[in-house]
């Protein structure tokens, strides 16, 4: 018996080994955006693999269709190999580095940060209760909220922008045209990369059977989140431009966007959690399973506490609910560059880059 002393391959090396086998077969061309991108290459530089990894939406269609999955000696597991490279790319490109891996991998760390945020907001509401103000602002002054949330929102976005700039360089993205953005928007808006190419959906919660459940659940969360974001943005406009501060009636844009958005997010995140519990964890990046799950729960908590706060209007529950809601929002904002939240930015950027690369051929 001999000892196998060969060093384990890095995530990128393992992905390269697998993609080179994959690229000699090409039976899966048609499932998603990864395969047309793959077939443009004969050799794969690290940046090419980063690009493929961020195009992959983990639909798993290629895995269940593959002739070379274990126990075959080629031992392909493309969804997992690309998930590893993808997470590694987010961690590598995130700054500050010290925080990047911690929150991607560990739900516990995320819960820890949430606890700190909770304590902060309970203290703020208790200590700085304003004398006047209406609605939420009776508990925390508008200016104090802005002073806290504006930097907590803008700073993480700025960090993400820097990461995306590095990403663009790494994958060799070209000049961005409006039509590239439009194509990426169409792909993401309908989540085409989870429709299987044939329109039957993806493989996730039920082995090799196709379904649209994950695609729909994801879109509920995504559109719900965007609607909630629109609610906040419209509130800001009303406040500053039209001098109309909260609270808003049900027919005003902040509520028209916020209420359905929040409901969609609660349903979508709950559904995603249920699906993820049924899915095979070996077809993703195992080490980030906890961090991903915590992130989905956090998103759900943001939406659920927001809705609860609205329903509790005028009751004694507003003060504690406000603290909890603001704490979840704060945690979500601060973790944008270091959690699964960043996937939206990278995936969209990858789709834009791919639109450009397709034109170059």
């Amino acid at each position: 018996m001999s000892l196998d002393l060969a060093p384990a391959l890095s995530a990128t090396e393992e992905a390269r080994r697998q993609i080179e086998i994959c690229n000699a077969c090409r039976y899966c061309e048609g499932f998603c955006s990864v395969f047309p991108a793959m077939t443009r290459n004969k050799a794969f530089a690290d940046g090419d693999l980063t690009h493929l990894a961020n195009l992959c939406h983990n639909c798993r269609g290629c895995h269940y269709a593959c002739q070379y999955t274990p126990p075959h000696e080629f031992a392909l597991n493309i969804p997992a190999a690309l998930a590893e490279v993808r997470h590694e790319s987010w961690e590598r490109l995130a700054r500050p580095q010290a925080l990047s891996k911690l929150f991607q991998e560990r739900g516990v760390a995320m819960a820890g940060l949430l606890t700190v945020a909770l304590a902060l907001f309970f203290w703020l509401i208790a200590a700085f209760r304003p004398a006047g103000g209406e609605g939420f602002y009776a508990y925390m002054a508008h200016n104090l909220m802005v002073a806290i949330f504006a930097p907590a929102f803008i700073l993480p976005l700025a960090l993400i922008a820097l990461s995306l700039r590095d990403y663009w360089r790494e994958v060799g993205g070209g000049r961005v045209r409006l039509r590239h953005l439009a194509q990426a928007g169409r792909m993401a808006g309908r989540m085409r990369n989870l429709d299987g190419g044939h329109g039957d959906g993806c493989n996730f919660e039920d082995g090799d059977r196709f379904s649209h459940r994950r695609r729909i659940a994801h879109q509920l969360v995504m559109w719900g989140f965007l609607a909630s974001f629109a609610a906040t943005s419209s509130g800001t406009v009303l406040h500053y431009v039209f001098d109309w501060p909260a609270p808003y009636p049900i027919w005003a844009p902040p509520k028209l966007f916020g209420v359905p958005g929040g409901i969609a997010m609660v349903i979508g995140t709950g559904w995603l959690v249920a699906l993820k519990l049924r899915a095979d964890p070996n077809l993703g990046a195992r080490r980030v399973w906890g961090g991903e799950m915590a992130f989905v729960l956090l998103l759900g908590a943001v939406a659920a506490t927001g809705l609860a706060l609205w329903l509790a209007t005028g009751t004694a529950a507003v003060a504690p609910l406000l603290a909890v809601h603001l704490a979840t929002v704060m945690t979500l904002f601060l973790l944008m560059p270091f959690s699964k939240m960043v996937h939206g930015f990278f995936r969209f950027t990858a789709l834009v880059a791919e639109a450009g690369k397709q034109e170059k051929g």
């Binding site: 039976y27 269940y64 269709a65 059977r209």
Partner: protein, 461 residues
């Protein structure tokens, strides 16, 4: 198992699944006995890619038309007439109605592909390949209530006169049990994975062959039926082989082990000598003969040599080429005699003449004065680095099979066996007596699988 099934289907690939699904849809109680464990279910179907389909007009995903006569003509070209015309035309004509049936039962096709594939008129490509097709059929089978048993090795098909009474089946290595049914469909493939059988049929050199597909097609059921006097068809000594990368796994290497470099190479044998015109025709028309060519060389091995000018002219191989800066160095790395290879290359290079080179068409750029000419794409090997691939014969399937009627029924000299049908590779030798036509194996499996399922169901109804 003491229950009596209406129909027992032996095998778990495309033909078996088509038969089982067709029968179950009539209400019959069906069991599938798949010899492989679940991850390897589907026989050689899991390595397939497309379905050759007649169509009298555009039919998604196929473009244009592909009529019976053209299809039959294509088949005659590859089989050189070794086909049963009646059965062949039945397969061709029925293929057209199979395509929508496949889609109804979960098979999905690729939209007409961009780029290099020129088969979008004649062949429908499975989205995800043959394993995706197999998965779809297993899901359909499960939904229809078909019982599916993996690792179920059928050891004996018990014949009592012109009837089959039961099967003796070993399940997951347990002692054999009897499975009784009122009708039986045999769809358990050829014998190409039984190296001993190949060696007896072909000669001891067959031990150096690689098997491109499943290790589970060992022909146990085929041999059992032939031993019991079933009518046979096809040359028992022949198998279909293509030249594949010599580093491929012994079994199950599938599509990725193919090498498309021959037309742009010179190919030498173990002794460093060329042995055939590498540029005789385009690769899609010639890849199938190179398995036999290499099989006829000493040690059943060949070596394709390429220079830097040609390395990007073909699909990437799963194994990287051996690289060297000089021909003698490359020969040494490949384990060949450097002097002999260098002499062959030098002789070849000096026989090349200038002229336009067109990699995608017959360009007539031929050598002059060589005993074995290269008649197209002949360019000197003069631009380092130089690349080498080892070639070995990769067996795809065997031709020996059960002779069936146009109702897929198995016969013996005493007449038809009343409750036994066969489909797929186990009977494909009736139609493919020689050569191969891309995507036709799946056509035979689908057409005759459905016929066998329908006939068996009618028998028990």
């Amino acid at each position: 198992m003491t229950e009596i099934y209406d129909i027992a289907v032996v095998g778990g690939g495309n033909a078996a699944l088509c038969a089982a699904i067709t029968a179950a849809k009539t209400g019959a109680r069906v069991i599938i006995l798949e010899g492989a464990p679940e991850p390897y279910r589907g026989g050689n179907s899991r390595h397939t890619r497309n379905f050759r389909c007649m169509h009298r007009g555009p039919m998604s995903p196929l473009t244009g038309t592909y009529e019976e006569e053209e299809y039959f003509h294509d088949l005659m070209l590859v089989t050189k007439g070794k086909t049963d015309e009646h059965l062949a035309r039945l397969a061709i004509r029925t293929s057209e109605e199979c395509l929508p049936w496949m889609q109804e039962h979960g098979v999905r096709f690729q939209p007409s592909l961009s780029g290099t594939l020129s088969l979008s008129r004649t062949n429908a490509f499975f989205l995800g390949g043959g394993k995706a097709l197999v998965n779809a059929y297993y899901n359909t089978a499960a939904d229809l209530g078909i019982e599916i048993v993996y690792q179920a090795q059928v050891r004996h098909v018990h014949r009592d006169g012109q009837r089959i009474t039961h099967l003796e089946v070993q399940i997951a290595g347990a002692p054999a049990t009897r499975i009784e049914a009122r009708a039986f469909v045999l769809a358990s493939g050829g014998f190409q994975a039984d190296i001993d059988w190949l060696a007896r049929a072909w000669g001891p050199s067959a031990r150096n062959f690689l098997i491109r597909g499943t290790p589970y097609n060992r022909g146990v059921v085929l041999k059992d039926m032939l031993d019991q006097g079933a009518d046979s068809v096809g040359d028992p000594t022949q198998c279909h082989a293509v030249a594949i990368d010599g580093r491929a796994p012994k079994y199950d290497g599938g599509i990725v082990t193919r090498l498309d470099c021959v037309p742009f190479s010179i190919v030498v044998n173990r002794d460093g000598q060329r042995f055939y015109d590498e540029g005789e025709d385009t690769w899609p028309k010639r890849y199938a003969i190179w398995g036999r060519l290499v099989a006829a060389q000493p040690d059943q091995v060949g070596y394709a040599l390429i220079d830097a000018k040609s390395i990007d002219l073909f699909m990437p191989s799963v194994f990287p080429p051996i690289v060297a800066d000089t021909i003698p160095e490359l020969a040494a790395k490949l384990g060949l005699d450097p002097a002999a290879v260098a002499a062959t290359v030098q002789q070849f290079n000096s026989a090349c003449r200038p002229g336009p080179f067109h990699p995608t068409e017959l360009d007539g750029l031929a050598t002059e004065g060589l005993e074995i000419a290269k008649t197209n794409w002949a360019r000197p090997l003069d631009t380092p680095p130089f690349y080498g691939y080892q070639l070995r014969p990769g067996v795809t399937f065997t031709y020996l099979g059960l002779k069936v009627s146009d109702s897929a029924q198995v016969h013996s000299p005493e007449g038809p066996i009343t409750n036994l049908w066969a489909a797929g590779e186990i009977m494909a030798g009736s139609i493919l007596g020689q050569g191969y036509l891309a995507g036709f194996g799946m056509t035979i499996g689908t057409v005759f699988g459905r016929i066998a399922g329908k006939e068996a169901a009618a028998h028990v109804a």
